[in-house]
Amino acid sequence: MNTFLWVIFPYLSIVVLIGGTVWRYRYDKFGWTTRSSQLYETNYLRWGSPMFHFGVLFVLIGHVIGLLIPKSWTEAVGITEHLYHLMAVLIGTVAGLCTLIGMAILILRRRLTGPVFAATTRNDKAMYVVLGSVILLGLLATVKANIAGGGYDYRETVSPWLRSLFTLRPDAALMTAVPASFKVHVIAAFVLFACWPFTRLVHAFSAPVGYLTRPYVVYRYRDPRGGLRPARPGWEPPR
């Protein structure tokens, strides 16, 4: 069971994430969009959407720091466990709450605004359930372990385990002693990764960072259609 949960399942999920994304990109570029509903309703979106998205970006940065950067590295630059812990809990909880409130506003808006609800597909609803539970479970785990409890140093167990997945030397034993609240959050997260390519969440992968370096106006040539026969080498098109 341990091997399945902490080795086979995560790998399966990652394979589905990568394979599904490639497949979706090839199969359904036209469906690859945010499908924004701002045209229907602006007032709630103006608050909910930035709160949720900026919150979730901070949460993402926090996860990268906490999970991918080994503890020895942060300690080498002089960040003690206590300091790290304090920062993580403080910023993490604020960002998490921000995300949660933003998401609550967005879901309420989706349910209560007629046109927005009418444009909500079943796929969207399922996605909200998975995404919402990952966020809620994560926040619960943090609150339970660090604020109510005495604190839990996941950087000794969860982080090395996750990195062991990437180095292709998975070590399921690291996860056995982890509190159940963290375990559930991790499992839910991998379920989310597996769903990701098949929902509107794909728009996250097309975050337009290239815009910062691109010239303002884009020129493009018409697709080279080349008539009925394929162009052969040595033949120049007539002018």
């Binding site: 469906g31 690859w32 945010t34 815009y211 106006v217 884009v218 020129y219 009925l228 007539p238």
Partner: protein, 546 residues
């Protein structure tokens, strides 16, 4: 010098009768799909009026177009790259649905199914967004022909900019129509504000298009375009805009709006321009210089040096020849009667307008003067500040001089031709008064009054080697592209996802769906393919009924 070709249009506003045929045929061709019910790639607005979407010309509010920075460069008025990206999660200045209008239909079925009663059944308006009852309060041309009166007209952003005195004289009710399509700008700010780089300008003919496969629905283009001619398809989540009917243009046919224009007021032709000079010309300090700056960007195709440079740039010979015969070149550069719409947005628009002289003539006639006497006309063009200031706000960033020149030339043409019409001797002093020769005057008259199809639309087709394929493009259903009716099905990822279905298969499924979706007694005969007897075509037989 980097020579590029641009397909451009000129509209002669004197001839527009506001019949909306262009809007209707455009809508039938391009936007009769769900998700774009509220979208008019071509619309005709009454001037004065609020326009569509409402008050779109008020850039303090809608933040479209470019602004000149203190260093003399251009940046989108709604903010540079970083600001745009930071506001990507909720675009703060996106027009709302009610700024366009809430699309609606009528509950016609109720007329047929209402139980017998005292009152006649009524087809109530239903919102196409929610399906609920709605109240129709606005549409794309709600204020058509000054409808709504002063209350609505007070919202005209241009009228607000002209002086009080002009506004008080307004009872004289000048009215003209302004048909609008995408301007296919030389310096498009919609493309500049697209974070995904999905909006591009075609290098061959300058048509600005949205790549539907690369658009991610960030909605920044809607804000970026000062003419508000990029629309958000609320079903597919992608931006859509006027395509200058490129499948038609590529095979040498005019756009649908031009083809069907009742007044024959549209002219299509090529303009050669220097792409390297665009950025500098769009950034001149004084807004009043923008009209001349844009004209300075255009290159004279009759100049052998320009033709040689165009040839080096890969522009085919027949295109250079078409540029020489372009009616657009003549109207903009030779006769100088066409003016750009809102050059102050600094996008270098490429759909130009010949300002209407008719309001002036009408006022003259109504006051008992001879409306076509040259002396009266020239005087009136100067004296009547209402049309002048208003037109200047539209076409020359508020500088009345180019408008006055254009109107004077049109007035001179009228007076000059009337004498000929009446069998009098042509008066060479009339063209001379506006700096033209009698020959030029005759040619301008021919182009404006009696130009035939081939003279109004000088459109070189795309390269000959593509001809076969392009024929196919023109012959295919114009809506058979992604986001068109082929995308009506709901895919696994929400509206309109999945690969496009071949049109035959799509039609087959759609017919079957339509034939089977309704209750049997409401078979739609229009969709019956003539084969078999679908359920519901005849009432049930006696023996089946039991």
């Amino acid at each position: 010098m980097r020579v590029m070709a641009q397909t451009a249009m000129v509209m002669n506003l004197d001839k527009c009768i506001g019949c909306h045929t262009c809007s209707v045929t455009c809508k039938q061709a391009w936007t009769n799909r769900s998700g774009v019910e509220y979208v008019w790639f071509n619309n005709v607005e009454s001037r004065p009026g609020q326009g569509y979407p409402r008050t779109y010309q008020d850039q303090d509010r809608w933040q479209g177009g470019w602004v000149r920075t203190r260093t003399g460069r251009l940046k989108p008025r709604s903010g540079g790259r970083i600001k745009r990206l930071l506001s990507i999660f909720a675009n703060p200045i996106l027009p709302r649905m009610r700024d366009y209008y809430e699309p609606w239909t009528y509950d016609y079925e109720h007329l047929l199914t209402a139980p017998a009663g005292e009152d006649l059944p009524v087809a109530r308006p239903k919102s196409l967004l929610t399906g609920e009852d709605t109240k129709v309060t606005w549409s794309a041309n709600w204020d058509d022909s000054l409808g709504g009166g002063n209350e609505v007209l007070a919202g005209d952003p241009i009228l607000q900019r002209v002086s009080d005195q002009v506004r008080q004289e307004y009872e004289k009710a000048f009215l003209f129509f302004l048909p609008r399509i995408c301007e296919h700008c030389l310096n498009p700010s919609c493309a500049a504000s697209c974070p995904s780089g999905a909006i591009y300008k075609r290098a061959e003919d300058g048509i600005v298009l949205v790549d539907q496969d690369r658009c991610r629905g960030w909605r920044m283009c809607v804000t970026g375009c000062p003419y508000k001619k990029v629309y958000f398809n609320h079903r597919t989540g992608k931006a859509e805009k006027c395509t200058f009917c490129f499948p038609r243009i590529e095979i040498g046919q005019p756009t649908i709006c031009s083809e069907t224009c009742v007044g024959r007021l549209r002219y299509i032709g090529l303009m050669l321009y220097d792409a390297d000079a665009v950025a500098k010309a769009a950034a001149v300090r004084d807004e009043h210089d923008l009209y001349d700056a844009q004209r300075s960007v255009f290159l004279d195709p009759h100049d052998p040096k320009v033709a040689a440079a165009a040839d080096r740039a890969g522009i085919p010979e027949d295109w250079i020849d078409a540029a020489r015969r372009s009616p657009v070149w003549d109207l903009i550069m030779k006769y100088e009667v066409a003016l750009p719409l809102h050059p102050e947005y600094r996008t270098m628009p490429m759909v130009w307008y010949i300002p209407p002289l008719s309001p002036v003539v009408d006022v003259l006639r109504d006051t008992g003067h001879d409306g076509e006497d040259p002396h009266n006309l020239f005087g009136a063009v100067d004296a009547l500040r209402i049309p002048m200031d208003y037109l200047a706000e539209l076409f020359t960033a508020g500088d009345p001089a180019p408008v006055r020149d254009a109107l004077n030339r049109l007035a001179a043409m009228r007076a000059y031709q009337r004498r000929i019409n009446l069998g009098e001797k042509p008066d060479g002093s009339i063209p001379a008064a506006v700096g033209m020769t009698t020959g030029e005057m005759d040619n301008m008259y021919r182009l404006l009054a009696i130009a035939k199809y081939e003279q109004r639309y000088v459109i070189p087709s795309a390269h000959a080697e593509d001809a076969h394929r392009l024929e196919g493009l023109g012959a295919e259903c114009s809506l058979d592209y992604e986001g068109g009716p082929g995308m009506y099905q709901t895919g696994p990822f929400g509206e309109a996802s999945g690969t496009p279905v071949p049109v035959q298969v799509e039609t087959f499924h759609m017919l079957r769906d339509r034939q089977t979706a309704d209750e049997p007694r409401r078979l739609n005969l229009l969709n019956w393919d003539g084969k078999g007897t679908p359920e519901g075509m005849f009432p049930p037989r006696e023996e089946d009924r039991s």
